[in-house]
Amino acid sequence: MAKHQTFHLSRRTLLGAGLFAGTSLLIKACDATPTASNGGGAGGDDTSGGGGRSDLVVTTFAGSWEQLYRDVIVPAYQATAGGSANLVTMVSLEQVAQLTAAPQSPPFDIALIDEGPFNAASKDLFVPVPSELLSNYDQVAPELQSTDGWAPTTGIQVIGLAYNPNEVSTPPTSWEDLYDPQYRGRVSMQGMQTTQGTSVMVQLAKLRGGSESDIEPAFQALEQELRPNLAGLAANSGALATLFQQGEIALAPHDLNNVMALQARGVEIEWVAPQEGAIAMRPSQQIVANTTADLASAAAFIDASLSLEVQTAMAQAPYNFLPVNRNVELSGVLAEKFGSTLDDALSTLVFLDWSQINPQRAEWIERFDRAIQI
């Protein structure tokens, strides 16, 4: 019996060791796969001759952006370049996290990514877009083009003040209205881990003599004036929407297109651009490095998004993004809020310098968490 036991034990040990060795080999093999297939490309599934695919995997944000991609951008790409595209919805930060985790075998080919996270991300994760492949590049307003060869902004989301007209008789006019004692316990905002939250805090700092590199005044205002007004922090724009819908809050920084989408669903909500300027968030579509996709197809997809037709559709309901193509004539709510041309709109907007914000963002988020904890 004892002998039997020893035999069992040693066999199990052997099995474990074998499994371990096998697993490590397998993991190594997995790791090496992309390089191997790149090296021996002859045996790959090349169809387009350029060594890549024209059926792209493209990320987008959930909500209006996804709708825009599905209804307008992807069909436009199919019509002009003949390729197809699969959509994946993901927030910018998760995209960067996924790309960072698997830089050799990225899970998608084109990423729609916010300015801040793109600026902060390692540039090895993306490839510049040759501007000769973008026939619509010249129509993009110069301040929305990239100086370093990256793809230009795709569309602008504008952050202003959203309020409930049933509870707020005179519309707010300034970012500083967030501190107004009449809104005690009725204000919300997103936390600093979101692009929107950080943008608002930087803007609040700027109004009190701070800047992208000096957030101190915003924290002072937060602790002394804003905190009594805060009902709570919203985790994301979806949560903010619910709070407005429930009459839980009367005022919050929010972006125009989300507010318009809520209004279309019958929620009592209005949006104003504060006199100091609404903040422009500038997401762009970037081509991911090391994809097996065809570069020309990826560029064609981006080019299709910049075309006059797509940009015109984008600037109308139900999407309501500010376009980047200066030939688009603004209409509807955009014309009402910003004037009839893109240049008019751009002159009123606030652009933040994320290259100054990013190095300090981690520290700010931790400080914000400490300051805001109950």
Binding site: A97, G191, Q193, L233, G247, E248, I365, I374
Partner: protein, 281 residues
Amino acid sequence: MNISQLLKPQPGQLALPLAIFLQLFYVVPLVILIATSFQGDGGAVSFDNYSKFFGSSVNVKALTDTFLLGVQVTVACLIIGYPVAYFYVNAPAAWKGILTFLIMLPLLTSAVVRTFGWVVILGRQGLINTALLNLGIIETPIRLLFSHNGVLIALTQIWLPMMVLPIVASLSQIDSRLAAASKSLGGGAWRTFWQITFPLTLPGMISGALLVFALTVSSFVTPSIIGGGQLIYLPTLIYQQGIVLLNQPFAAAVSTLLLIMVIAVVVLLSALGKRSRRYIR
């Protein structure tokens, strides 16, 4: 040892595919996670992430709040779940179908949807506050949304089925003759319950408690939406460090601490479970 003996099915052989699967997709990632948590600046092995974690009051508060939340939700689920399970087991057969449906119903809707439902219920103008105001119990709305108690209420409802089902399982295994025997020996209803039924369902309560605790401390969506940004629990911290700040080693350290917390509770409850089984025999 001859060939026929070697080829004879061995106990455990059937578990081999599972063992390989778990090894590949569970043990290896876990080891990588824990190894990452000891990665300091420049890739050297260090305890920096842990000392940084315990050096900040926000992080320590997140740890204690998470543990407290886990314990509170578990206790609340026990208090509410036990009577529900008892009622279910003793209900007439005709009702059982409906009751099963009612108990399982919450599991059929996504936690995100249920969470937004709770936002509607817990708000200033929500169901609870309106009811309390109209009944004259309170004069100003109480703060439930964006509070620890709100998260506690929502998570209790969301994980309740995980407590009810194991208790139902252990309640229905009890031999009904035991109660009859107790009664014939002069035991009243309460005495029979506390001395016979309750101890026999301890294993069910313990497995329910394990499930609820582990699920609660690792909940992400509900605490972030109901609690807002002011309440920080470990999963939020992990998300923030790993995804927002791309500080993977620190996120790995927080994950390891969460893992240790769950393992500690599992060990504690299993020890309790062993004792309870000894008590039953």
